[in-house]
Assembly symmetry: C2
Amino acid sequence: MREKRKLSQKQLGIDAGIDPSAASPRMNQYETGKHRPDPNMTERLCQVLGVPVAYLYCEDDDLARVVASFANLNDKDKRKILSMIDQIESLEG
Amino acid sequence: MREKRKLSQKQLGIDAGIDPSAASPRMNQYETGKHRPDPNMTERLCQVLGVPVAYLYCEDDDLARVVASFANLNDKDKRKILSMIDQIESLEG
DNA sequence: GCCAATACTAAGGATTCCTTAGTATGCGGT
DNA sequence: ACCGCATACTAAGGAATCCTTAGTATTGGC
């Protein structure tokens, strides 16, 4: 259903709307942590990547997995996760 | 266990290390979306608030709940959520 | 009303980003 | 090996954004 092509830094930037002549350095500056994209660009990059914006800011890998997966679940499965969390918290909270 | 005091914008900034004389306008600029904190300040604000950085970037409320809750779970409960997600994805992925 | 605390805004110097120009590295083909 | 091309990466400065100072507006308690 969802094709998983491999993107260069530059192509990812272009797909997100950066001028092709500037896409390579900008994307590289983002990936190396030298600079960070403004909110609009962050949103567009995440759309291209198919992940929620929050995914980029997940410190630990488990949280990142949860965020990436949860965003792609259907409503029923989302409710399943949410109610499981409710249950856990009601026991220990 | 965890006390939930009510913080003014200014006090939150001070607790995160902003100079008291500048905390009020800066925090207000953040909350109104006029500017955004740099990465260090973002981290510190989130520490004071007790939420993961990713929480600030959650577009929808359900995702925000999942992020905030998951971060405070113990390892066993985290594994429970993760394996549930694994299971769901293996069925529909 | 008055006072204090909080919320908010303006403007400019300080900082960071985006663009241009260019170098470096990796890799397939001959 | 050499060439050619795509990709990765860097430097530097004009462009954009942020942080600070100074101040106004609003809210809540007395």
